[in-house]
Symmetry: C2
């Protein structure tokens, strides 16, 4: 059995608590001989800043580059509100994405049947919802230069951010979306603001060209990002795969996640390009939820999004899809049994702590 090298980066807030449940799962998989994982651990975000004054150390960046996959918790919190912009907690995550070339962010928004009532939307609108949001992750306004604040004198400052996209960046993310659609319901909706942004014009043009050249069998639809957001709220089931840029993807994937009522359950994968020689790709897996500093350290966090993120690693990095299916089934069974962390509690269910939920899932496995 091949041994896989994982770097675990728990981060801040509830990150370490939910990561503990992944460690429990890895330990169990190794012990049972179902897989063979070697793990290292590192610091990222505020905890890295506290330890070495940077949001990720060079040593941990090196470990990240050497790992077969990175399992990432969450970063940030009010404790670090005052730290300089360059070393704020989020900078560690952004550097990982950029330096490892993790351009494709896959964010499934799935409504777990047992949780449909936890949504603020009507049950019939979200029940059975299954959207895949493909967000471009290493371009756009997140990384474009100039990105500055200039003092203009007279008490005036000027802030500038730059949205930049090149053809090849749009092409490769479009391909990821079309490939995924082929394995799903064969439909891609591309979102931008071409009526206002030049990057939207180019985005639309390139996605259309990739479609015409390589993916005529997939249905392609274009929506303006603002009306796309409206449709997400009103008719979410019209979507299969959504492909969009870094900033729109940030907003739209969070909104889609919230629709499902299952925020504490939703994973994400950030993937690099497939290496022509090794056929491997760099990858980072993280829950969609953030560091939730308000509930950190209380055993209240829902570990499921972190566990399903590890499940995505099994599937996308290690070709262990059958094992990932088993994990999903175990989670579904535990939910069906009525066990719930605080975020998804409902009448007639049994409250569980982070640890109890993790243990129950392994027991079910």
């Amino acid at each position: 059995m091949a041994t896989h090298k994982l770097l675990l980066l728990p981060g801040d807030g509830i990150g370490p608590e939910v990561m503990a449940e992944v460690k429990r799962l890895i330990g169990w998989l190794n012990a049972k001989g179902l897989a063979s994982f070697e793990t290292e651990e590192g610091l990222v975000g505020g905890s890295a800043y506290d330890a070495h004054g940077a949001s990720i150390s060079e040593a941990d960046m090196a470990k990240a580059k050497a790992a077969d996959a990175i399992i990432f918790g969450a970063v940030g919190g009010p404790k670090w509100d005052g730290v300089p912009y360059e070393v704020r907690p989020e900078a560690g995550l952004l550097r990982l994405r950029k330096d490892l070339g993790l351009f494709a962010n896959l964010r499934p928004a799935v409504c777990y049947p047992a949780l449909a009532d936890a949504s603020s939307l009507k049950r019939e609108i979200v029940e059975g919802l299954d959207i895949m949001i493909v967000r471009e992750l290493t371009g756009g306004v997140y990384f474009g230069e100039p990105k500055t604040i200039t003092d203009l004198g007279n008490g005036q400052k000027r802030a500038v951010d730059t949205q930049v996209y090149d053809t090849y960046e749009i092409e490769r993310i479009a391909r990821v979306a079309f490939d995924l659609a082929r394995k799903r319901r064969n439909k891609v909706t591309s979102m931008e603001k071409r009526n206002v942004m030049k990057s939207g014009v180019l985005w639309n043009e390139v996605v259309t060209a990739v479609h015409n050249r390589e993916y005529k069998d997939v249905t392609l639809e274009h929506q303006l990002a603002d009306s796309g957001g409206m449709n997400l709220v009103k008719y979410p089931k019209m979507f299969d795969v959504i492909v969009t840029d870094n900033l729109f993807g940030d907003m739209l994937s969070d909104i889609a996640a919230m629709l499902t009522g299952s925020l504490g359950m939703l994973p994400s994968a950030s993937l690099g390009e497939v290496d022509a020689k090794t056929h491997k790709r760099r990858a980072l897996y993280e829950p969609v939820h953030g560091s939730a500093p308000d509930i950190a350290g209380k055993g209240l966090a829902n570990p499921i999004a972190m566990l399903t993120s590890f499940g995505m690693a099994l599937r996308y990095s290690f070709d262990l899809g059958a094992l990932a299916d088993k994990l999903d089934a175990a989670i579904a069974a535990v939910l069906a049994s009525g066990l719930r962390t605080a975020d998804i509690k409902a009448e007639g269910t049994t409250p569980a702590s982070t640890t109890q939920m993790g243990e129950a899932i392994i027991k079910e496995l």
Copy 2:
């Protein structure tokens, strides 16, 4: 009685149909001696392009500058998908906003009690909802330079858009938000992405400074735009006034409008600075909904958003708040009587065309 000069710009799609109901209302107000309006009409968007190859003519821009207020329908449609970027329908609207200095876009998101069930959200989440979104409208990525597509050779192009904000732009929009909050529930939530964007850092800093200097009596809260979007979907009633930049405001106000189930009902006002001498401000009023080309010309459009936009003009431009209240009451009464255009139909209600709805409201008045 003072006579007010209005420029009516019906635009494209359902624009002319819903504007017809405003004309009916103006005619009635003039005839009854309740107000005195002089109206001119102009072309904007695709209809202006078809007539003179520009999305708004210089003559109509001059009329817009001379008017006391502009009543705007909607622009755009698939018919003009292929026209050059500079003369696309939206360019006319963007030029009006920019050249008239209409920096403050007020978008109320109100859930009409009679329509709570039209929302895709649960009734208890949206019933009684009353949010005011204050969107900056003449800055940010909409107008920043460079805004270009460059051919890099080798089949590669590069698209660039630039998000720019100066201190004074953030200060003046923050004041609009705080002033509105004082007349409402005294709370402002400012949204940006300061963890990723320098403009978010400056936005946060300036809004905080204005608050500390001038509005200590108002509660100020900051949210990252992505989690703000999530909160809009999950806990919309946590908000009173939301202040945010041009692009986030575009997305978030559309989503907020959709939550209410009342998209066809919601107005907006775009206001300039108050002139030190005349104490007047330039203003444009338009419905939140778009040109809806799919239902144009069929008598299906809901004229209420257009009429309530005119109601905002009565309130904000002409100090005719009492008349605006009467209009609101008439609309509520007509809805309560069960009359409904197609977008808000429900079991047990009476279908109405655009015209029938407009006539019923005037009859009620």
